[in-house]
C-alpha cells in the first residue's frame, strides 16, 4: 500500500514537472492562427445583446461581439479599447475620450462618436439593469467631432471609470437601433458590433456560432476562426463532453465542483484560475432584518459565529474560493477599498460559546428539545451544491439551538416569495461586487434599494442612516484615500451588524482542455473578448 502510494506520488511529481516545463514552453510558443474553440455554458441566454440585459450568459456571448470604451488590467486600471486616450477635468465633472479611428461595425459602417453618445445615454443608461449605477451622474454627452466624446457629470463619480468595459457598457451601433423598439429589434439576436467575433448562427437549444471578424481593429487578432458556445442541460453530460474532448472550455457553474476536481486529475484537462477580479463575486446569506428572530443584531451575529467558513469553502465548494471577511472582496485589493483590519472576526476559537451567549442574551432560551427557535432557510435555486450548503447550515445552526427547515423551490417561485414579497427568514445567494463597491456591493445594504419590485437588491431590508451616509459619500468622493476610508468604515459597520453573512469569495474558475492557450488574459476572463486565445493544432 505504502509502495503504491509513493509510486503514485512519484508519478504526480513527474507529471507536475512536465506540466511546468510544458507551461514554460507554451509561454514561449507563438500563437497559432485558426481553429475552433468550443465552450459550454449554462443556461442558454434569452438574448445575446448585453446592452439590454446583464444575465451572465448573455454577457459571456456579447463580450466577444461588442467592445467597450475601455479595458482593464489585473489591478483594474483602465486600458485603451475603443477609446484611445482620456482626460478627466480637475473638478471631476467632465471626462473627454479620444476615440479610435478606422474602426468599422460588422456590417461595414464606420464607428463614430455618435455611436458612443447613443449607446451610453439612450441604451445602456436606460436599459441595462446596472446602467444607472454605472452612468447615473452622466447628464449629457457632447460629440465635438466624429472621434471625440465629452461626458458631462452632475457631480464627480469615481466608479464611472471602472464600469466602461464591454461587460458593463458595450457600444452598440446607432444606425441599427435608432428609432426602433430596442428590445424587439431583430438585431438583438443577430447582433452587429465592433468586437473580435461576428455573430454567425444560433441553433436554439443547441449552439451559437461566432466567426472571426476579419476587419477587427486589433491587427492580426483574434487568433481563432470560430468560437462555438454549446448548451447542454445536464451537468454530468457536460463533464463527459469535456472528458472526451468534445468541449474545450467549460465556464464556471457548468460542472459541479466535485467533478471539476476529478477532471483536473486527467492528463489533458486543467482548471483556469483568474479572470474574475473585475467581477469580485461573494457568496452570502441574507437575513430578514424586519422579522424575528433576525431583527435582533445578536441573533444575526450568533449565526455568523456558528458557521464555519473554512468548512464551507473546503468541503462544499471543494476549495474553489476563500473565506470572506466582509462585504467587499479582497479581489479589489488594488483599489484600496478592501480591508480586513478592525473588522469583527467570526472565525475564532470559542465561536460556538460566543454564539450561545449571544442567543441567551437575546432571550432565546433552549426549550425541552434543546432548540431555542425555528427558522426557514430558502435555499438559492442554483443547483445541488447550494442544497448541500443548506444542509450544512442546518446542522451547524442546530448546534447552537437554532432549528432550520430547508425550503427548495423553483426559480420563479423563489424570486417571487423571497425577493418580491420579502416572505423569508434566511436565504442564500451570491452577488457580484464589481470593480468598485458602489457598482455592486452597495446594492444589498443601501436603504434606497429596499424595493420589493426589484429582485436581488436590499432583500434584508437593512436600513442604517450611518451606512447610507457612507455609501452616498463614497459615490461622489474623488480622493482615493478618503474613499477607501469610507469603504473601510462601511465594512466595519456592516460586519458588526451582520444583516448579511458573508461566507466565501468565489473563484469562478473555468475547466479547460490543455490545447487551449491564453484563455485568461484580463480581469474579465472568459467574459472578455478572447481575442488573445488560441488553440494548439
Amino acid at each position: 500500500m505504502l509502495l503504491i502510494k509513493s509510486w503514485k506520488n512519484g508519478v504526480r511529481a513527474l507529471a507536475l514537472a512536465s506540466a511546468v516545463s510544458l507551461a514554460a514552453g507554451a509561454a514561449m510558443a507563438a500563437p497559432q492562427r485558426g481553429g475552433t474553440l468550443v465552450v459550454t455554458t449554462t443556461p442558454e441566454p434569452a438574448i445575446i445583446t448585453n446592452a439590454l440585459s446583464s444575465a451572465p450568459t448573455t454577457a459571456e456571448l456579447a463580450t466577444k461581439i461588442f467592445d467597450g470604451l475601455l479595458e482593464y488590467d489585473f489591478d483594474l486600471n483602465p486600458k485603451p479599447s475603443l477609446a484611445e486616450s482620456w482626460e478627466i477635468s480637475p473638478d471631476g465633472k467632465t471626462i473627454t475620450f479620444k476615440l479610435r479611428q478606422g474602426v468599422v461595425w460588422h456590417d461595414g459602417k464606420p464607428f463614430t462618436s455618435a455611436d458612443v453618445q447613443f449607446s451610453l445615454m439612450k441604451v445602456v443608461k436606460e436599459y441595462h439593469p446596472r446602467g444607472k449605477g454605472n452612468l447615473g451622474p452622466v447628464t449629457s454627452i457632447d460629440a465635438p467631432d466624429a472621434h471625440t466624446v465629452v461626458l458631462n457629470l452632475a457631480h464627480p463619480y469615481a466608479p464611472l471609470m471602472k464600469g466602461l468595459s464591454s461587460l458593463e457598457t458595450p457600444i452598440v451601433p446607432k444606425h441599427v437601433y435608432e428609432g426602433t423598439d430596442f428590445r424587439n429589434n431583430p438585431a438583438v439576436n443577430n447582433p452587429i458590433g465592433t468586437g473580435p467575433f461576428k455573430f454567425a448562427k444560433w441553433e436554439k437549444g443547441n449552439f451559437i456560432e461566432l466567426q472571426r471578424n476579419e476587419k477587427y481593429w486589433r491587427e492580426g487578432k483574434p487568433y481563432l476562426d470560430r468560437l462555438i458556445f454549446r448548451f447542454i442541460a445536464d451537468s454530468s453530460t457536460r463533464a463527459a463532453g469535456v472528458e472526451r474532448g468534445e468541449i474545450d472550455v467549460a465556464t464556471f457553474g457548468t460542472i459541479n465542483p466535485v467533478e471539476m476536481r476529478r477532471l483536473e486529475e486527467l492528463p489533458n484537462i486543467s482548471i483556469a484560475k483568474g479572470g474574475y477580479e473585475a467581477i469580485a463575486p461573494v457568496m452570502m446569506l441574507e437575513l430578514n432584518t424586519k422579522r424575528a428572530p433576525f431583527d435582533d443584531k445578536r441573533v444575526r451575529q450568533a449565526v455568523a459565529y456558528a458557521l464555519d467558513r473554512n468548512f464551507i469553502t473546503k468541503n462544499i465548494w471543494y476549495g474553489f474560493g476563500k473565506p470572506a471577511v466582509g462585504p467587499i472582496s479582497s479581489f479589489v485589493k488594488g483599489s484600496g477599498a478592501f480591508t480586513d483590519q478592525g473588522i469583527l472576526k467570526f472565525d475564532v476559537k470559542d465561536r460556538l460559546d460566543i454564539a450561545n451567549r449571544l442567543l441567551d442574551e437575546a432571550g432565546l432560551k433552549r426549550g425541552a428539545n434543546g432548540m431555542r427557535t425555528k427558522i426557514v432557510h430558502d435555499v438559492a435555486p442554483f443547483g445541488e451544491d447550494w442544497r448541500r450548503m443548506g444542509e450544512y447550515i442546518k446542522q451547524a445552526l442546530a448546534r447552537v439551538g437554532i432549528e432550520v427547515e430547508l425550503r427548495n423551490r423553483d426559480y420563479p417561485t423563489f424570486v417571487r416569495e423571497v425577493h418580491n414579497k420579502y416572505d423569508f427568514d434566511m436565504t442564500s445567494t451570491w452577488s457580484i461586487g464589481m470593480a468598485d463597491p458602489i457598482l455592486g456591493v452597495q446594492r444589498q445594504t443601501w436603504s434606497k434599494n429596499i424595493n420589493p419590485e426589484v429582485p436581488f437588491a436590499n432583500v434584508s431590508q437593512y436600513s442604517n442612516p450611518e451606512v447610507d451616509k457612507l455609501w452616498e459619500a463614497a459615490q461622489t468622493e474623488m480622493d482615493q484615500a478618503k474613499r477607501s476610508q469610507h469603504f473601510h468604515k462601511l465594512q466595519e459597520l456592516l460586519v458588526a451588524d451582520s444583516p448579511l453573512i458573508w461566507l466565501m469569495e468565489m473563484d469562478l474558475v473555468a475547466v479547460q482542455n490543455d490545447k487551449v492557450q491564453d484563455l485568461i488574459t484580463s480581469p474579465l476572463g472568459v467574459r472578455g473578448g478572447l481575442y488573445d486565445t488560441w488553440v494548439k493544432q
Binding site: 468550443v38 434569452a46 446583464s54 451572465p56 426559480y411 424570486v415 426589484v454
Partner: protein
Amino acid sequence: MWSSRAKYVLNRLIHGLPIIFAIVIANFFLIRLAPGDAAQVLAGEAGAASEEYMRQIRQQFGLDQPLYIQFISYMKNILMFDMGYSFRHGRDVSSLIFERVGATALLMFASMVISVGVGVLLGAVAAIKDRTILSNVIVIFSIISYATPLFWVGLMLIIVFSIHLGWFPTSGIATVGSTMTGWQYALDIAHHLVLPAVTLSFFYMALYTRLMRASMLETLGLDFIKTARAKGLSDRKIVSRHALRNAILPVLTMAGVQVSSMLGGSVIIESVFGWPGLGLLAFESLFARDLNLLLGIFFLSSILVVVTNAIVDVVYTIVDPRIELKGKLAHG
C-alpha cells in the same frame, strides 16, 4: 375499403376537436397557477433590475392586462393557429416549435421502432420458450430495465460507449460547426441518435416485452390455435400467421397511448444527451414562465395525441380487419 377508412379517420379527428379545445382552455388557466412571472425570471437572471425595467417588461409581455383580456386574445389567436410570440426568445412560438419538433420526432420515432420491435420480439420468444432459461433471462432483463431510471441509464451508456469505448459522441444532434452535407450529414445524425434512442426505448421496451409475453401466452392457449395445430400446421406458421397477429394488439394499443408519455420521457433524454428537441424547450420554458411558448407546446402535443390515436385505430384495422367492421357499424 380505403374511402371508408378515410371517413373513419376523419370522424375520429372531428371528435378530437372539442377535446383539443377543452385542453387549450384548461391549460391556459392551469399554467397561471404557478407563482411568479416571466418578468421576475428575466430580472432575476439579470442579477439586478430597476423598477422601470420590470414595468417595461410587463407592459411589453402584456402581463399588466387583466386575465380575462389575456384569455380572450389568446383564444382569438389560437383559432387562427397563431400561437403567439415568445418574448423571452424574441421569436414567434410557431417558428421556435417547428424548428425543434423534427429533432423530437426523430428521437421518438427511432425509439418507438426499437422498443416495439425489440419488445415484441423478446416477448414472443419468452412466451414460445416459456419456462426455459432464455425466457427467464428475458423476463429478468425486462424487470431490471423497467425499474432503472432513464437518466441513470443514459449516463451509464455515455460513460461506457462514449468515454471508455469512444464509439459514440456524448451529446448533441450533430457535430457542431461541421460542414457535412447529404449522406455524410445524415450518418452523423444517426451516429448521434444511437445512445439517446436506445436509452429512451429501454423503459418502453421492457413494458412491451412483458405485455407481449402475457398476451402471447394467452393467445397460444386459445381454441383457434388448437384448431390450427389440429389442422397440422407447423409451429412456425401457427406463431407467425395466427398467434402473433392476435397477440400484438394490446402492444399497439399501449404504444399509441404512450406516444404522449414518450414526449415526457424525452425531456429527460433530451437534457441528458443535449438533444435540441421539444421536451427540453418545454422544460426550459416552464422554469422561465414563458407561458406562450409552453401553451404552444401543449397545444401541439394535444393535437399529436389525438392524431396518433386515430393512426393507431387505422393500424388496428390493418392488423385485425374485424375492428374496422365494428367501426363502420357504429358510425353507420
